[in-house]
Amino acid sequence: MNAAPRKLNLDEWDEHYEQLCHDGLREPCYGGSLRRHVVREKDFRLQQLQFDNSPAALRLWNFLLTENARLHQARANGDKIVGTMKDLGTVPVMAFSLPGVRAFYPDGAWWTPCLMECSDKLLQQAEAMGVDASFCPVRAMLPAFENGEHFPKPDLLICSTGAVCDDFSAIAQRLEHLGHSIFWWEMPRRRQPAASENFCSLPGNLIAPKIQVDCVRTELQRVGQALGELAGKTLDDDCLAAGIRTANQVRRLLAALREIVYSAPAAPLPALEMLVAEMLAIHFCSDREETITVLGGLLAEVQARVRQNQFIISTDAVRVFWVNPVADLRAMNLLEELGGRICGSDYMFTHALDLIPENLPPLEALARTALADPMVGPTADRAARIVRECLAGHAEAVVVSRIPGASHCAREGEIIREIVRQQIGIPVIELEIPPVCDAMLPNLGSRLQALFETARARRIK
């Protein structure tokens, strides 16, 4: 562990970074000051954020913010690049099982307008391409594909369709019409098995009819063939099993990190860094091995802090379970500034956090994991998991955040709210957080503050 944990703004990080360098900070090849991402990449939003002060957090941010450069370098080195869209965690496991193949997540471009405070003009350009603000901000990936200023054009583009976000499907179809060929694979909507039907257990305490698991496995087999053809090597069971074991290393690290951060008497790591860390589960930020190192560093830092009883948020903070990722990262800081802390999360990819079964044939295991995606099943299933995790994390309140234009299920927030209220009776609010939420900060702040007042009042019996 290094200095006592605290949050720093970008100016403070500049000074802190100088001191760390002076003290002999060792960094990977993508290391450097956070400031350079503002200067070089125009990630202006960083100037409004508060960051954890540990070198482990610095490494996490630098890893996240250098992904495009890493992809361009990989292309220059002759690696094959696969864009994996929508499945949130399954196809990357397959792609990284093959040597010389890197997967990335073009959907991630939805964060670019926020990080660049819309200076990238991606959202406006998407509108000019026929996909307006009534669609999810993922539409930012359309011009990013066209102008090549962000990520390199992938050698293979794979996208799941069927029981996935309809906004996303529309945007991906528009992308294909623009000339970017897509390898589609079908995801059925997860349903409860009929009484007489054979069924399989899935990660996350779920079940699904065997026929659905078989369908997804067959689809993933097709995906595997396409990946094998790209790599010039068959994606056999041994390869895939090894890939699953490494992916599970990432998932185990994240599980350990979540467990210690969310169950500690006070938060040893800010909500913002936890959100970024959890996101690594989906796509490994284009470098699976480095993901393991980055998460290992964070976990060691957090373990040391907890051992030393050093926390970043007071023990009095209201314990909040957060649902869905935010478009503007500033919201995660705001939560803590107003007296909250995260004690659990469902950022819409909980299936990418669950361990992939290692006792099953690899494709079968991946099919079951893919089918456990919260977005392909009923919201009530998702709400049931939220309730379980709220109870485990002693949550006092739930925040369901929404992104304007994005509606994976139009009634998602209401369903979650009703089920949480009914089963554990804690207050739930829905917040809509746009890509740049500055103008809405007073309103967002009022709602969060009211939520915390309500939760605190409930402490007094």
Binding site: P427, I429, E430, P442, N443, A450, E453, T454
Partner: protein, 261 residues
């Protein structure tokens, strides 16, 4: 002991002086909101002190609430309007289980537990169609004051259907309705129904009776009836609806004075 509550809302500032000994409101007042919120609030507060024959030093504590609460730096602390309206309504109507507050720029539905504690809440501050702003727009368009608008609504026999979900487009629709000869009272009542429908959507399924209606819009004749129709449940207008936020703030100030958090 005397406590003060100031509710710096989006359209007006409300203030209350509350005596815990007699459990009575000693003075209450209202001023239009403006750019210099703190000055306006100070003037209002001084006016109330004068009316009640009190000195500033006799006020044991003060809480500010409302949209502009953080600008009221002479208050001891700030508490959100959700908590304050809930406490204010509970003080005046202890049986309340649901509070609907429609203000100038937002609307809220607050669910209360026994003892007046907030159980949960929902809030709309992104769409003017469910707020008093809609009625203000109509009043401006028809060049009449708030009271006259209220009076007109009560004369309606067949409220107009306002289809648009957006106040800006609804304005065009209202002009069209008036041009087609729709009686004015029916148009105004139609606007009230439209607001009530938006608020009922916000309330969802967690509305439990008794429901109390508060906020400045509660003074509009016909609004409570419009809410009753869409919620299919009796809706009572809270006593002194425009002051429940400020009263709640004063009550909470007194509880803080007694050491309650």
């Amino acid at each position: 002991m005397i406590y003060a509550g100031i509710d710096a809302g989006s359209r007006s500032i409300k203030a209350v002086l509350f005596d815990t000994g007699s459990s009575q409101i000693l003075a209450s007042g209202l001023a239009d909101q403006g750019v210099e919120q703190e000055r306006l609030a100070t003037e209002l507060f001084k006016k109330l002190l004068k009316e009640a024959g009190l000195e500033r030093s006799q006020v044991s504590g003060m809480v500010a609430t409302g949209y502009g609460r953080n600008a009221i730096r002479f208050a001891d602390t700030t508490i959100t309007e959700i908590t304050c309206h809930a406490r204010g309504v509970h003080r005046l109507a202890p049986d309340a289980r649901t509070v609907i507050e429609i203000g100038g720029q937002d609307s809220k539905v607050i669910s209360l537990e026994d003892g007046g504690r907030v159980r949960d809440f929902a809030m709309n501050d992104r769409c003017a169609a469910g707020t008093g702003r809609f009625l203000e727009m109509v009043a401006t368009r028809l060049d009449m004051n708030w009271e006259k608008l209220s009076e007109l609504a009560s004369q309606s026999t067949k409220p107009a259907i306002i289809s648009n979900m957006c106040v800006v487009f609804a304005e065009t629709e209202i002009i069209g309705l008036l041009a087609s000869g729709k009686p004015l009272p029916d148009v105004v009542a139609g606007v009230q129904n439209s607001i009530a429908t938006r608020v009922s959507a916000l309330a969802g399924r967690f509305v439990l009776p008794p429901i109390y209606f508060t906020g400045g819009v509660a003074l509009q004749t016909g609004m409570a009836r419009a809410l009753e129709e869409v919620l299919a449940c009796p809706v009572r207008v809270s006593p002194q609806p425009q002051f429940t936020g400020a009263l709640g703030a004063a009550v909470l100030a007194s509880e803080r004075g007694k050491g309650k958090p």
